[in-house]
């Protein structure tokens, strides 16, 4: 049955690049040293938070009246001690656990909820779309810092309430991105072609819509992680997140702030941790964005 068909034999052809979509993304990332560097840095930060109990040289809760606010290098305290004589390095390592958790969990949850709502709104259109998107518009009408502070402030602070507040902050923008992407994809011919096979709607959604919406949503979500870590630390900085004596970068920054005249270098440490984390997240997100652009 492989008889030649006129006009068929001359189809142009070039060498195949048989690499899957994610394969291509990975391949591109491998040759992007800047993104790789920040990915490694972020991995290092996350790993050191996970293994904080093993890595920390001191007990992060151990106070000492005589060792208050000592400079970096004092008797094995590599980054000095805080206002209660606790080892700053140990507290930073332990603090990363709560800060990163409080920063990343809301983005994850908001991606699931907001992305899901956006997908539904975009594909259903009509009244469903209008109801979902108008509710999102209301939350969009708050500056993100204000909304986070308002909700967690009204709920009385704490790590859990802070995470709920941040999740609520991130749902509307993620929903909007997912809705826009879905609406765009839905109107492309390949979705019509898939519908034209008579295939059930859920299969069309799963194979043809979701895959094309996932990319933009994930890229956007990755860019939010940096904002989320800064906001989460900011909430703790305002006294709305982690409660003392738990170690947390934002809270440490607030406590050490009182000591700028005594030990300025130590005061800056928690902020450096936040900065390194958020820069890594931003750079990684930018790298992913360009690597995931199939058309370039």
């Amino acid at each position: 049955m492989s008889t030649t068909i006129p006009g068929a034999a001359t189809a142009e052809g070039s060498l195949p690049t048989q690499r899957g979509y994610w394969g291509t993304v990975g391949y591109r990332l491998r040759y992007d040293p800047v993104t790789l560097f920040f990915a490694a840095l972020l991995l290092l930060i996350i790993l050191s938070a996970i293994f904080a109990p093993l890595l920390a040289p001191f007990d992060p809760y151990q106070e000492s009246i005589i060792r208050r606010l000592k400079p970096p290098g004092f008797r094995g305290h590599m980054l000095g001690t805080d206002e209660l004589g606790r080892d700053v390095l140990s507290r930073l390592l332990h603090g990363g656990r709560i800060t990163l958790l409080m920063g990343m969990v809301p983005v994850l949850v908001a991606t699931l909820i907001g992305g899901g709502l956006g997908l539904v709104a975009g594909f259903a259109g009509g009244v469903v779309n209008a109801v979902i998107m108008r509710v999102m518009d209301v939350f969009y009408a708050f500056p993100s810092v204000l909304l986070a502070v308002a909700i967690s402030g009204a709920m009385g602070g704490g790590v859990g309430n802070g995470m709920i507040a941040l999740t609520l902050v991130f749902i509307p923008p993620l929903c909007r991105v997912a809705e826009t992407a879905t609406t765009q994809v839905r109107n492309l011919d390949f979705v019509d072609a898939a519908r034209a096979t008579g295939a059930p709607l859920r299969l069309v959604l799963w194979h043809h819509v979701l895959g094309n919406v996932l990319g933009p949503v994930l890229i956007y979500a990755s860019s939010l992680t940096s904002v989320s870590v800064i906001l989460a630390s900011g909430l703790s900085f305002l006294g709305l997140g982690v409660k003392p004596p738990e170690p947390d970068w934002g809270l440490m920054l607030n406590a050490l702030r009182q000591a700028i005249y005594v030990s300025p270098l130590v005061c800056a440490m928690p902020g450096i941790a936040i900065l390194l984390t958020s820069i890594s997240m931003n750079m990684l997100s930018d790298g992913l964005r360009s690597a995931m652009d199939v058309r370039s």
Binding site: A141, P143, L146, V149, I151, L253, I260, A268, I279, M283
Partner: protein, 315 residues
């Protein structure tokens, strides 16, 4: 155009109502009886009951909301628990200081970022472009409350050239050297994020315009480079101005952390004090006012943009 303006204004009404509902609901998010949050913690049971009736808290929620909305529209936001003064007075006293910070920050951010973005956008891919992009990433990655502390350490503690906190007076006086000194560090700190965002926007807007055919034509016609650039910038300006407007709204609501660092007597600092004192009426009122300002600014930017670009009106 007129129809579009009316449509946009009408569309803002349900959003404003939604915002007011969220603010109203804030009281009910608080743990425990909402009355408790309106009173000092040591209030006795009789006072609680009296206040419940006084504020109509024993009635159904929708009724309570409408009554609250009615009071708010007449400017009655309740009384501060901490100071006992009307919330509206407190907000009005502090709002101007925040407007001052946000305005100066956005103007400075725009001047710096527009130049940076133009340099980068004219020749994308060069080392200059990379430096500008790096600055932009740094601007949005840096926790500004930390940057504020670092600046205080450098300029107040070590160099002792600028004051660390406060405002030196109740209202800003641009002729007073002391007032100006106090405003430098907060404004610089607050302008970091807008610098990053505006530089990015300018860069991509300029890069896009530079690749358009009309610019290529201008070049081909032998126009001097600075005049080509002037044409290009004129076309790149509207989206940048729009982003600048949005940033102003964001700073108005987002200056809480920076104001706290510098003890700047604006609405953000007041908000953070209200949180510490569990002063819910002030919290609710301030957030409502700031969110409404944000909505208004966004609406203004939207209308401004559509007046420049007729394509948007159709959408």
């Amino acid at each position: 155009m007129f129809g579009y303006v009316v449509r946009r204004l009408l569309a803002a009404i349900p959003i404003a109502l939604g915002v007011s509902m969220v603010c109203f609901a804030l009281v009910y998010l608080a743990p425990g009886d909402p009355v408790q949050t309106l009173l000092p913690p040591d209030a006795d049971a009789e006072t609680v009951e009296r206040l419940k009736r006084l504020y109509g808290l024993d009635r159904p929620l929708p009724i309570q909301y409408l009554e609250w909305l009615w009071r708010v529209m007449q400017g009655d936001f309740g009384k501060s628990i901490a100071t006992g003064r009307p919330v509206l007075d407190e907000i009005l006293r502090s709002l101007g200081n925040t407007v001052l910070l946000a305005t100066l920050s956005v103007l400075i951010a725009f001047s710096v970022a527009f130049i940076l973005g133009t340099i980068a956008g004219r020749r994308t891919g060069t080392w200059l472009d990379r430096i500008v992009t790096g600055i932009a990433v740094l601007g949005v990655s840096i926790p500004n409350y930390w940057l504020g502390i670092v600046l205080v350490i450098i300029f107040s503690v070590e160099l002792m050239v600028l004051p660390a906190s406060g405002m030196a007076g109740d209202t800003f006086d641009p002729t007073s050297w002391e007032h100006i000194q106090h405003v430098v560090l907060p404004v610089f700190t607050l302008s970091m994020i807008p610098v990053g965002i505006i530089a990015r926007t300018t860069r991509s807007a300029v890069a896009e315009v530079m690749n358009q055919e009309f610019v290529v034509t201008l070049r081909a016609n032998g126009l001097p480079e600075w005049r080509v650039l002037r044409h290009a910038l004129k076309n790149a300006l509207p989206p940048v101005l729009a982003v600048m407007g949005l940033q102003f709204g964001t700073l108005m609501g987002g200056s809480i952390l920076v104001e706290t660092v510098f003890s700047w007597p604006g609405s953000g600092f007041m908000l953070s004090k209200a949180i510490l004192n569990r002063d819910v009426p002030v919290l609710q009122g301030t957030i409502l006012v700031l969110a409404m300002i944000f909505v208004t600014v966004n609406l203004t930017v939207d209308l401004f943009q559509s007046s420049l670009d007729p394509r948007i009106r159709r959408g």
